[in-house]
């Protein structure tokens, strides 16, 4: 009795598998594999380079245009494309990339690549619920996995701190998040950007398409964000304290003007009740016609972009006021500890064995995925602090390469610099300049208050020889790599 039943199950499974393959077959000419080779860096030895190669997916979306995520496409040295899941790899290049949006377009001059490839069509209407398929090439076969749309959420992008519209899809697909095509009814819904616990985050068409359309016309200004911090109002006493009349609404601003040099008309204790004509509720949401309640952050990163002026209605000192707010463009340099600095070699400067580097998140990530717990507390705490005009960023003495000049200093590391030769230091270029002006024949390096040591001193006249000795001894080619001032 057992055998016929097992056979039936096998037959049914085979039927389902074939069925899935048949449904996905139209994607064979639209989904491609990408291979990206890139330079990667050891931020604890910033002069050292490694090579890394990743394979991910892409979707043909237009003439000689392949859409993929920007993830792992920084510092690339070579991009290749493979169609049909097998056969030759074609040389390609990046046509456009936006790290904050996590989107990239790849193209190739090789006509052979494009023959038989067909641009995918986008799903014309928003799809808030239902089933989708996730499609990719794997081991020469086109894989297709079913997925269910779980929710739409305005949340932090993978390569940025900006919140924007994303879709979450549950699926049994494994090792995804590499720009797999998310499709329904032969139409493209989006591409995956990450994957964890049977849940894929998808960059959806309503987020991607307007950006691509604008980019094709060279008028995408970049994602924007609101450079003020607001808090939800769960407590009606806050509205009463602010003497708001009428229905409960709005969120209250607790900190503003976060982007240096950006003139913001928004003030702490402003109650934001309307943005761009959209009513804001106490959760910080507005009513989107297609997706329901969405966070106001989506207004700056999705509905509108950077540099746009948007009317904001605030309740301030007991009355309604409308202010014109220009949405600032997101930039990694907006943060005291930049989240990333793609397509640039790590900056460093070696002076007589002292190694100086900017404090960045890539540097902190040298402590591994649990870097917030494992990296030195004080360095991590800088990620919670705001930049200021005086200190837009920080530089640290990251390590000391032992030399006769640095005897007594060998154990110093992870120390944030305050001044060098009496000059304030916030960038590595400041430090390079300051080292040109020794004090009384000495290089005097002072560290931030609270560091485990306050000051180090080196003989300026012997520094050049010491640096040359260290470079030779440790096999380092250059004493510095600085960004353009």
């Amino acid at each position: 009795m057992r055998y016929p039943f097992l056979l039936f199950i096998c037959w049914l499974a085979g039927l389902l598998s074939i069925s899935a393959a048949q449904r996905s077959s139209s994607w064979e000419n639209s989904v491609v594999s990408l291979e990206a080779s890139r330079r990667s860096y050891d931020y604890l030895q910033p002069w050292a380079r490694r090579q890394e190669t990743v394979t991910k997916s892409g979707v043909v979306i237009g003439p000689r245009q392949i859409l993929t995520t920007a993830d792992y496409l920084h510092d690339i040295t070579l991009v290749r494309v493979q169609k049909n899941g097998r056969g030759p790899w074609y040389s390609a290049k990046l046509a456009w990339i936006d790290y904050h949006a996590n989107l990239a377009l790849v193209t190739s001059a090789d006509s052979n690549l494009w023959s038989h490839l067909k641009p995918a069509s986008w799903l014309p209407k928003p799809m808030s619920r239902g089933q989708v398929e996730l499609v990719r090439w794997r081991n020469g076969r086109l894989e297709s996995f079913q997925g269910d749309i779980q929710q739409w959420a305005v949340k932090k992008g993978k390569l940025t701190w900006v919140d924007y519209l994303q879709m979450e899809v549950s699926s049994e697909i494994n090792a995804a998040g590499w720009a797999e095509a998310v499709v329904v009814d032969n139409k493209l819904v989006g591409i995956t950007s990450s994957h964890a616990d049977n849940r894929c985050t998808v960059l959806p068409a309503p987020f991607v398409r307007p950006i691509l359309q604008a980019q094709n016309q060279n008028r995408f200004p970049g994602l924007g964000y609101f450079d003020f911090v607001w808090q939800k109002i769960e407590n009606p006493d806050i509205l009463a304290y602010l003497k708001l009349t009428g229905a409960p609404r709005g969120v209250v601003v607790v900190d503003g003007g976060l982007k240096l040099g950006h003139a913001s008309p928004i003030q702490p204790m402003d109650l934001i009740v309307k943005i761009d004509g959209l009513d804001i509720d106490n959760e910080g949401d507005y009513q989107d016609p297609d997706y329901g309640k969405l966070s106001i952050e989506n207004i700056a990163s999705g509905r509108l972009w950077a540099n746009r002026s948007v009317p904001i209605q605030v309740w301030r000192s007991g009355e309604l006021k409308e202010v014109a707010y220009t949405i600032p463009k997101v930039d990694y340099a907006d943060e005291l500890v930049p989240l990333a600095h793609y397509d640039q070699e790590p900056e460093y400067l070696i002076a007589g064995g002292l190694v100086f580097q900017p404090l960045t998140e890539p540097y902190l990530r040298s402590w591994g995925s649990d870097w917030r717990r494992k990296a030195p507390f004080r360095l991590v705490y800088y990620t919670l602090e705001k930049p200021s005009v005086e200190k837009p960023s920080r530089v640290l003495l990251s390590t000391v390469l032992p030399d006769r000049t640095t005897i007594g200093y060998q154990d110093h590391r992870f120390l944030v610099i305050e001044r060098v030769n009496n000059r304030p230091i916030s960038r590595l270029n400041d430090l390079a300049e300051a080292l040109k002006s020794p004090v009384g024949g000495f290089q005097v390096i002072e560290f931030a208050p609270g560091e485990s040591v306050g000051k180090l001193v080196l003989n300026a006249s012997r520094l050049e020889d010491a640096t040359a000795r260290v470079l030779q001894h440790f096999g380092i080619q250059k004493d510095r790599h600085l960004s353009s001032p």
Binding site: Q231, P268, V444, A448
Partner: protein, 467 residues
Amino acid sequence: MLATGAEPERSVVQITTFSQQPDWAAPWRFESVRRSSGSGFVIRGKRILTNAHVLSWARQVLVRRYQDPRPFLARVVYMGHDCDLALLALEDESFFDNLDPLDLGDLPKVRSSVVTYGYPAGGEQISYTRGVVSRIEVQSYTHIGNRGFIAVQTDAAINPGNSGGPVIQDDKVVGVAFQGIPGLENTGFFIPPPVIQHFLQDVEDGEYHGFPQAGIRLSSLQNPDFRRYLGLPDNDQGARIDSLSPIPSTTAVLQKEDVLLQVGSYAVASDSTILYEGNRLHAGVAFSEVQHGQSLNLRVWRQGKELSVTLPMNVVRDDAAEGNQYQLPKYYIFGGLIFTPLNRDYLRAVGGSSPDTLGSELAYELFYRRQEKPETWRPEPIVLVGILSHSVNANFSIKGRALIQKVNGRRIEDLKGLIEAFESSSATYDVIQFVTQQSFDCLNHSAAVQATSEILKTYNIPSDRRL
């Protein structure tokens, strides 16, 4: 003096402590009663010397003599939390009949043999272990975790229950066993005679003051360029004062960048050490020799000249990170919101080293702000510990573990200021502003005042405050 041929073990006692420590996350409450045991020994004056950590938060202390089944009630007479030493007295002084007090010896030599006596876990009878003095160094005393004194390392086993027991050499006490290092085998530490003597001298006036602090941080001066920069000869003398704590008696005498050449009778070497009874120890040892209120003569190098100064030495008690650990936690409850001063114990109780924003902020406030941003430092930072649920606070959005910035526009520097900010308000709403991104929340003042007594009753809290 111990009689010749006497058996030291007769003067070694077993201490059983029933303790109850406060719950810093609910500061009016105590945790369950806990039983623990340690060791101690009889010294002159009918007293028993042991570790402070053996007696912390004791509700009852029982002492048993060697091979005597009777428990005797004891009471704590002096606690030195900084040096982890304490003295007990007995309610029934017949306990001391026929017991010879043990006398203190000198700092033992490295490589010499010692024997530890005590009642470690694993049995009821006294235990002896012989070992060698492996090294003598300044170590962190982990009982309160922020002070360092001389400690002697030995390979004699020192296990839980040994704490407070004597370490004997030539029939004299050369140490009090007190701590080990987790993960290191055959490594135990004992408190040596100089620290014990300091403690015993301190209490002679009937009060324990503690070890005074100079409030200076020394940095080695081994780099020839740095020495030239300071105009110092290229020798092995002098360590640089890298930073000064804001202790007025210290900042009046010493300056950052002074080079410390001599402390009392000890020459300070370029690696910040002194030669102490044949051992190279951190110069902090020289500062530990004096008592609270005494002074030390120092020789310093300042701007190319050598000069002598006298440094008054006092115990520092104004820093939450330094030692409020063994007082009952202060608190204030208003409208169900529980406030308490931030200190090491609170941070430990709530896992304040966690990498989330709130945990990081608490750790920064306690350990870094005073040095880095003294202009924003608060003598007693206040934390919203949690909220006792009631309709008056049901919509309060911040639930706890948040540092208070302002209440009703007043910057909160201590618990007294917080209470005044609430109680002096005549506004309809109290506005509580937090440090975290300056977020804030409101409470209806009169409703909160009315609700407080009801909340105290509901949660069986004896008082709305402990100051």
